[in-house]
Symmetry: C2
Subunit: 404 residues, 2 copies
């Protein structure tokens, strides 16, 4: 996990670059789920993706198309991909391509749309679809040319050093990415300037990224997926290699237990609410973004990001305490990601299901919170603990599998 | 001090924009000093500035010119200016112009050259002079067009919000400015792109700034000077409005005591040394940059910047302890600059000479360290406490002045 070296090496269109991606397939966050059991925000995002793909001409038709059985729904995680919140990736969406320089495998994520009314939070209004089309036509092409330009002198944009630096700059790199986004912008802008792209596209793309401090999220998630993949499928290993939620269920993968999903109902986060919203509006936990905690940052690195508490709640003391607690359920301290305030100790890394079950402490995730109804969007951000039954079920299965 | 609102409103040439700047005048850091008493790095910087201005054709001639009495040497602080280390500003150097939106006055600083062999550390080789010429011909013109572009939609680039954000991103904004520089770059780049500047100049300027995390230093110093000026010349006030050093002497201004310099020998910083150098190579403390501590950040905000300890020395515990100690000698907590790790307490702001004398605690400065000989450059970075006799002398004078 710590040896993985994911580098952003390009952009692509999902159907062309994501392994086993097919037409009329939608990838989603979390474990497998059929349309009827999908939560509101995921249904909203599916409707939006159908409109974006042009499979239907309005919301109504899109809803009917979704339940018609014509679409294949599959988890991102089974396609080397991760995406935040609803996490819908449709065949013609542009995606980030990362390559692990150490182990050679590729991982993928979509492009971050910003905050507010966005597909990943279940919004699908014309403004959402227009933005997605602009991201496909302008942003992704600009980024493609930019990364191509960067690749004239290096393998791409290395993401691990960016996460490492951002952790010394007040980010935990899941819900606070102000520094990570700044660092990525600083690194890619020279290539954006020298790439063969028209000035309007450069200006618009720069502005779009500059106004969205969550730009870095999808990149660090794809990087975290590479790290987790590096630790996956190791015989006897009790390390968790995916924490993920689809808004209905929460689930984990364990390294030594193949692609077996351990599933339990997704909990509702405790949050800080946007004006006008309360806990009653909240959808249960959703998104692949807990891959950041899986790889040893995000909520696990809260002690590096004292300002995060104004966004997800809690106090600075709690942020430090939470990181300290995560050491009790992880295998080691990360040798890449250091927390300056803990005298540059490495972040707690590698959740061990045995330690979770033994201590009763479950991984704490920093998360965005979607409205439970489709079409609305984000209502807050907060904290959520993964259900303990997942780890118990996994450990039980582990004992059977290895005949212990 | 806390109400001041300094905004970067443009670029100019020193002789045209700095008040009372004259031909054959060199401004310098710290209190007044004649050529013969100048330290090695300041002499080196003077020689470099003479070469840059074309007043002499080689080092030898420049040295003779410096001691000929033809040059007027005056402190930056008497010209609404501040500059780091030797702080030499010559008539044809480009300078940053800041305007205080609250109080209307302007402050100035030069442009940061980066680390290593640079004029402000006393280096004056051809590479140093070439860089200064490029900064005049390309960088400052690009920045001028950039700020002009920004001013189409706002008053300029507000520096206080940048400092405030940077303090939540691991900077203390004196010796660590990674976040501040990133934030400034993010803010000005869109204007740089839309300004009427050739692509080569934009690319070169962007690269130069991007490769120098100290770019923000001179801007935050000029901003701090505006803050200090706002608190200066207030009858009865015992607040320090300048902490400054010229490499030979350290000095302070006190608000209620006009432009009277209180002067003592500059101490040698305790440092972390660049490879091959030791304390024996170090020049005594030099530069106007302690204006940052004067305004309530820099060393006073070390608790916001745990990573700084790898650059200036000490431990994270020491960084926090130092900030805590500075509360004992300051008037208040800053309502702009908050330290996330101290539960968003304001930084200690407004050094009160009465409190310094009563507690025996003197202001601690984070500082770069110059080689004591001219022509060499930076040899380390460290910490230095201002001499207590300055504050005692000022308090004595205060008692006389106000007949207490």
């Amino acid at each position: 996990m710590m040896e993985s070296d994911p580098v952003w090496e390009g952009m692509g269109v999902a159907r062309r670059v994501i392994p086993n991606m097919k037409d009329l397939m939608l990838l989603h966050a979390g474990p497998p789920i059929e349309w009827s059991r999908m939560s509101g925000p995921m249904k909203g995002a599916v409707i939006g993706a159908i409109l974006y793909e042009g499979w239907a001409k309005d919301d109504d038709e899109a809803g009917k198309f979704a339940e018609s059985g014509k679409i294949t729904f599959e988890p991102n995680h089974l396609h080397s991909s991760v995406a935040p919140m609803a996490g819908i990736i449709s065949p013609n969406m542009p995606v980030l391509i990362l390559k692990d320089q150490k182990f050679g495998n590729r991982t993928f994520s979509n492009l971050n749309e910003g905050l507010g009314k966005v597909l990943r939070y279940g919004a699908y209004s014309p403004e959402v679809i227009r933005r997605l089309s602009w991201m496909r036509d302008t942003l992704s092409r600009t980024l493609e040319a930019t990364i191509d330009e960067a690749k004239k002198t290096k393998t791409g944009i290395a993401i691990k050093p960016i996460i490492a630096q951002a952790l010394t700059m007040g980010d935990e790199c899941h819900n606070r990415l102000n520094a990570a986004t700044s660092l990525i912008l600083r690194e890619i802008t020279p290539f954006m300037l020298s790439a063969n792209v028209d000035k309007k596209s450069v200006t618009e793309s720069y502005e779009f990224i500059n106004q969205n401090n969550f730009t870095a999220l999808n990149l660090v998630m794809a990087a975290a997926k590479a790290m987790a993949d590096a630790a996956h499928n190791i015989k006897y290993s009790t390390i968790v290699t995916a924490l993920t939620r689809n808004g209905t269920d929460a689930a984990i993968f364990v390294s030594g237990l193949d692609q077996e999903w351990f599933v339990a109902p997704a909990p509702v986060p405790k949050g800080v609410w946007f004006p006008g919203y309360t806990e009653r509006d909240a959808n249960p936990d959703i998104g692949d973004s807990a891959i950041t905690e899986t790889a040893g940052f995000g909520g696990f690195a809260m002690a590096a990001a004292p300002s995060i508490v104004s966004w997800v709640g809690g106090s600075v003391a709690y942020a430090i305490e939470n990181t300290q607690k995560m050491y009790e359920i992880t295998h080691t301290k990360n040798n890449n990601f250091l927390i300056p305030f803990l005298d540059s100790q490495g972040t707690p890394t590698g959740i061990d299901i045995r330690k979770v079950v033994r201590t009763g402490i479950t991984p704490t995730i920093n998360t965005g919170i979607a409205h439970k109804n489709p079409g609305i969007g984000q209502v807050g951000a907060g904290l959520v603990a993964f259900p303990s039954e997942l780890f118990k079920a996994a450990l039980k299965r582990y004992a059977q599998r290895y005949a212990i």
